[in-house]
Structures are given as structure tokens and as C-alpha cells.
């Protein structure tokens, strides 16, 4: 990676100059992250430049790069996939500034000093296991997988889910994830997938695995309307899905990703770099997520209530 060994400000007199950016500030978690990073900066006395991209890389990337042009010690990336920020990565490498990121891709990448994210395989394992239990064994069962390829995390776990489900002996509808085309209408699209399938194949679904909660909630509604008792799992731990899980409907489980502790972990690594220029040993850290079911739903802080 492009970290210069003499990096870091070392002397401790000057404030650490930090550029933080996220494209996902219009999501609840993204909005929480913006606030949380600002709080950390106040607490630690960072000189922070926060850039919010509204999912618009045409707008965000130049803004970040011009901030890099003005000099910085560290760059923080929140929830922005490595594939969308190629130009930022180049600029940062040229300027010798390390990027510390949260959930910025699902695989190790030299672009980052470190990228901490949740372990997609573990997410899939937990959700598939929950489904397996609820339907009394997945073997011979039919499961629909709902994905959204433009989102790297969802894409990866949807692919892994198809593998895991097929390994467990289940039939995946269409043999691949059903693709939601726009996140804005994800709930309606998922609902339509499920109700279309059910009306052509009544009682044809045993479970739905959705890559994120909004789609999972749509799928759950489609199942309920189709009179199916099949179960759905999602990812995100939105308060709405937690409520749905507690209500004991078609929504079976979701996944809580421990963003606050991930951010703490990231800040520690930044502080280590600030102190003596040490870069993290590994540039990819996958942390475990928590399966949220009826049993533990009450103890979970919903991801949209973090801030």
C-alpha cells in the first residue's frame, strides 16, 4: 500500500488532518456514521473535512480529491465501495495518504490501509442456518434469493447465499438471485417477485433469503398476502424488521452489523498511525455480525436508531 513510513504527524502539536467521506449519507447508517465521525473528531481534536456524496460519485469524487490536493494525514471512507472510488484511491496514493475504511468492499484491496467490514460468509451462514431450522431442513425446499448487484456487499452475500442454499439441498428460484433494479423501489420490487411467483406456484416457496431488510420486508408482505407461511431473513437490523420479527410473522431473522464497535476499532488504528505512523498489519478485517431473531430482538439497537 501507499503508506509512507514517515507518515503520521508524530509531533502531536498539530491537529490530525482528516478527510472523511461517504456516499451513503442518505441511508440511516450512513447518516449515523457522519454524525459519529464528527463526534470522534471533536473528541480527539481532529481537523475534519466531511464530504457527503448523496450516492453521486460525479459530485463526491472531485470534492474528495480537491480536499486531498489541500493536504491531509488520513482519509476515512464510510460505506463507499472501492470500485466507485478509483480516482480517489489514485489521488490518495499519489499524495501518500492512507485510507481507513468501513465496509468499503468485500475483499482485501491494496487501496486501503485497512477496510473493516462484516464477514459476509458468516452472515450467510447464520441466516441460512436460521432458515434451515425454521423449515425443518432445507433439503428439497424452494428458496427465493433477492439481491441487488450494484451493492457490492449485497451482491457478494447473495451469491454466497445461493451457494449455501444449494449446498443444503434447496432449490433456488431461477438458480440465481432475483435482482431489484432500484433501491428506492426495492420493497415493491421484492413484493412483486414474491407475489408473482406465488400466484404462478401457490405454496411454491418455503423461504426467502433477502440481501437487505427493505427487500426482506417487501418479501415478507408478499408471503403474507399470498397466504404463505414461508420465512424470510434480511440483513441490517432495521427497527422495522426487528418489529416484524417480534410480531412473529413471516419475518424470521435479520443481521445486526456492529457499526459502532467497528468505528471504534477503526479510530484506534488511526490513532496508532497518528502516534508513530504504523499502518495496520492487515488491510482487510472481517468482523462477526449478530443474528437477530425473536429471542434477542429486544436487546438489539436498530441500525436506524444508532445516532
Amino acid at each position: 500500500s501507499g503508506g509512507d513510513s514517515g507518515g503520521g504527524t508524530g509531533d502531536g502539536d498539530e491537529a490530525l488532518k482528516v478527510i472523511a467521506f461517504t456516499s451513503g449519507n442518505q441511508t440511516p447508517v450512513g447518516a449515523w456514521w457522519v454524525k459519529a465521525v464528527q463526534e470522534k473528531a471533536d473528541e480527539l481534536g481532529w481537523d475534519l473535512t466531511m464530504i457527503q456524496g448523496d450516492f453521486d460519485f460525479q459530485k463526491m469524487n472531485p470534492a474528495v480529491e480537491s480536499a486531498i490536493g489541500q493536504g491531509a494525514d488520513v482519509i476515512l471512507d464510510g460505506y463507499t465501495d472501492v470500485s466507485s472510488i478509483g480516482s480517489i484511491v489514485t489521488a490518495a496514493q499519489d499524495a501518500g495518504i492512507p485510507i481507513f475504511s468501513i465496509d468499503a468492499g468485500t475483499e482485501p484491496s491494496d487501496a486501503f490501509a485497512v477496510n473493516i467490514t462484516t464477514d459476509q460468509q458468516q452472515i450467510v451462514d447464520q441466516t441460512v442456518e436460521a432458515l434451515d431450522e425454521s423449515v425443518g431442513g432445507l433439503d428439497g425446499k424452494t428458496v427465493m434469493v433477492i439481491g441487488h448487484d450494484p451493492h457490492a456487499g449485497i451482491r457478494m452475500r447473495a451469491g454466497l447465499a445461493v451457494e449455501a442454499l444449494e449446498e443444503a439441498g434447496a432449490t433456488v428460484v431461477g438458480g440465481e438471485p432475483q435482482q431489484v433494479t432500484s433501491p428506492a423501489t426495492g420493497r415493491t420490487e421484492a413484493l412483486n417477485f414474491v407475489s408473482d411467483y406465488l400466484s404462478a406456484n401457490p405454496d411454491g416457496l418455503d423461504a426467502v433469503w433477502a440481501g437487505w431488510d427493505d427487500a426482506a420486508l417487501g418479501a415478507a408482505q408478499g408471503l403474507a398476502e399470498g397466504g404463505s407461511s414461508a420465512k424470510v431473513t434480511g440483513v441490517d437490523a432495521l427497527s422495522e424488521s426487528i418489529a416484524a420479527i417480534e410480531a412473529d410473522g413471516n419475518m424470521l431473522a435479520t443481521i445486526e452489523q456492529p457499526w459502532p464497535s467497528i468505528l471504534d476499532q477503526l479510530v484506534e488504528l488511526v490513532q496508532a498511525y497518528e502516534a508513530d505512523g504504523t499502518l495496520p498489519d492487515e488491510n482487510f478485517v472481517a468482523v462477526d455480525a449478530t443474528l437477530v431473531t425473536k429471542d434477542n430482538a429486544a436487546e438489539i439497537t436498530p441500525s436506524d436508531k444508532l445516532g
Binding site: Q26, G174, T185, N192, E240, A243, D304
Partner: protein
């Protein structure tokens, strides 16, 4: 649209008059033919399930909100304009209603507030277009942008949920196994249809869309009628948005977003159905049906979502081209 109508007026009449053969009459139903072909195709592919009661009901349920918003778009397009803000307005209305309910206001108050919001957005559009003479495209594009922003503010960027069951029943309840939104869509379509056909204001709208100068010289208050059309479109969009919130049990800033493009496409498809080439509610409903059947059928066949999109565009082109052969110069 009026664009072509006006500029090639002479030529259009010549063509209309010089050739009305049986073949052309058949072709004029190009869009209807397209719908029938689609239905036939999917029926042959899935004879057991596609035309089953359950699936037809399912299609109706899926298109009910779009039908309402396309109805709103029809009103505006009868007058010869566009409204790009229908989708945004519906989201805002749904969000406002949802937010008020979560804020402990009664369902009635919340719905009324949502409707009032739609009315207000429509009124703003109408004033900008009819009285300040802004082009409908730029005015509704601008209100669309602002209204989406407002919807984000109202929802704080999240998805609102947890509305009382009296409310969600409006979208999810059933009567004789048919979901409520289907009844609403039918009722609203009938009202709009009757309004366009049997009321004085409906006649005025048609006249303006047909020839704004003739309408003016026949004593029609053109500005007021256009204002009314946009206001009503805002109001009807709001109904659609509120129902969508009830149907999904949740409200977010962009959940009605794709209804805008689809509503315009439906009206355009429907315009090809009748001889005069004007926007008309019956045609719009055929357009809505094409969109609904296409999406449901392709889903049932398990066609990849991306291929679906490609096919959707092609079918729209095919349907409109088929019909446009009859009105070459219009």
C-alpha cells in the same frame, strides 16, 4: 402531442382524409393488439397459471397504484401538458400522512393532510404553468426536485412504518378476496373517466388539448382550466401515494419514484388507441395493463430483471410504432 399536431396540421388532415382503409382501422388498434399478443404469449407459456384468478388478481393489485397515478397524468396530458412531479408528489403525500400518524394524529387527519399536500403541489404546478407560462417540463421538473427533498425531510431519510391498522387496511385489506387498492383504482379511474367525459371542465380540457386557440375563441377560460388540471393531478397523485404507503405499510421519500416514467409511458401507449390520438383514460388503462402484464409475465417466466428492462423498452417501441403507422403525420 401538440407539437406535431400543430406543425404538420395540413399534412395530417390530408393523410387522414386520403386514406382510411380497413387495414388502417385494424392497425389503429395496434396497442390493443400488442396487449392481446402479450397476454396470449404468456398464457401459452404458462397455461396453468398466467390467467388463473389468483394471478390476474395479483396483476390488478400490482398495477392499482400505477393506474391511479397514470390517471392523474392522463388529466394533464388531455390538456396537452406533462407532469413529471406525479411520482414525487405521491411519495410526499404518503410520507406526510405516515409521519402524522406516527405523530399520534388520527388516520383521518393524516390522510386529509396528505391530500392537501398533493393539492398544494398541483396548485403550484398549475400557477407556474398556466399563469407564469413556464414550460410544463421545467416547472414540474423543478417541483419534482423540491418535493423529493421535502419528502426526505419529512421522513428524515428513513422509511416510516408502524401506521395504525385502520390505515394499512386501506392498502392491504380485502373485500371478496380482492385487495382494496383495486377497488380504489377502479373507482378513481371511473371518476376521472366520467369527469373527462361528462363534466364541463372535462370538455374544456379536451378542447384545450385539441386546439387551444379554438377553445379560447369558444369562450373557454384556458388558464383556469389548466390550473385545475394540474391541481387535480396533484390531488390524485396524493391519493395514489397515500394508498401506496398503506399498501406497503411504510413510507419513504422515493418509493413512488418509478411511477412517473411508467405513468407517462402508459398515457402515451393509450394515446395510440383512439383515432384522434389524444390522451384518454381507457387507453391509459390499456397502457397500464401492458406494463403490468409485461412485468408479471416476465417475472413468472423467470426472465432476468435486466433483460426485462431491455424487453420493456422494445415492447413500448413496438406498440407505439404499430399504432403510429396509421397516423404517420400526426
Amino acid at each position: 402531442m401538440t407539437v406535431e399536431k400543430e406543425s404538420t396540421r395540413t399534412a395530417a388532415v390530408v393523410v387522414q382524409q386520403s386514406s382510411r382503409t380497413a387495414g388502417r382501422v385494424l392497425l389503429s388498434g395496434g396497442t390493443v393488439v400488442a396487449l392481446i399478443l402479450l397476454v396470449l404469449f404468456f398464457f401459452l407459456m404458462r397455461p396453468d397459471s398466467f390467467l388463473s384468478f389468483v394471478n390476474v388478481r395479483n396483476i390488478l393489485y400490482q398495477v392499482s397504484i400505477l393506474a391511479i397515478i397514470a390517471g392523474a397524468q392522463t388529466i394533464v396530458m388531455v390538456v396537452g401538458d406533462f407532469d413529471l412531479s406525479v411520482g414525487a408528489t405521491s411519495s410526499l403525500a404518503g410520507s406526510v400522512a405516515a409521519a402524522l400518524m406516527l405523530d399520534e394524529h388520527s388516520v383521518g387527519v393524516a390522510i386529509l393532510a396528505g391530500l392537501a399536500v398533493g393539492l398544494a403541489v398541483g396548485l403550484v404546478n398549475g400557477v407556474l404553468i398556466a399563469y407564469l407560462n413556464l414550460s410544463a417540463f421545467v416547472a414540474t421538473l423543478a417541483t419534482m426536485t423540491s418535493v423529493i427533498g421535502l419528502a426526505y425531510l419529512v421522513t428524515a431519510g428513513t422509511t416510516l412504518f408502524g401506521m395504525p391498522p385502520e390505515f394499512t387496511q386501506l392498502g392491504q385489506g380485502r373485500l371478496l378476496t380482492i385487495p382494496m387498492p383495486v377497488y380504489f383504482a377502479i373507482a378513481i379511474s371511473l371518476v376521472i373517466w366520467a369527469m373527462l367525459r361528462f363534466t364541463t371542465v372535462g370538455r374544456r380540457w379536451h378542447a384545450i388539448g385539441g386546439n387551444v386557440e379554438v377553445a379560447r375563441l369558444s369562450g373557454v377560460n384556458v388558464r383556469f382550466a389548466r390550473l385545475l388540471a394540474f391541481t387535480l393531478a396533484g390531488f390524485v397523485s396524493a391519493i395514489g401515494g397515500i394508498l401506496l404507503a398503506a399498501r406497503l405499510g411504510s413510507a419513504s421519500a422515493e418509493q413512488g419514484g418509478d411511477n412517473m416514467m411508467f405513468s407517462v409511458a402508459a398515457v402515451f401507449l393509450g394515446m395510440t388507441v383512439i383515432r384522434s390520438g389524444a390522451a384518454n383514460l381507457g387507453g391509459t388503462m390499456i397502457g397500464v395493463a401492458i406494463i403490468g402484464v409485461m412485468s408479471n409475465g416476465l417475472n413468472i417466466l423467470g426472465v432476468n430483471a435486466y433483460v426485462q428492462q431491455v424487453v420493456t423498452g422494445l415492447i413500448i417501441i413496438a406498440a407505439v410504432t404499430l399504432s403510429s403507422l396509421k397516423t404517420r403525420e400526426r
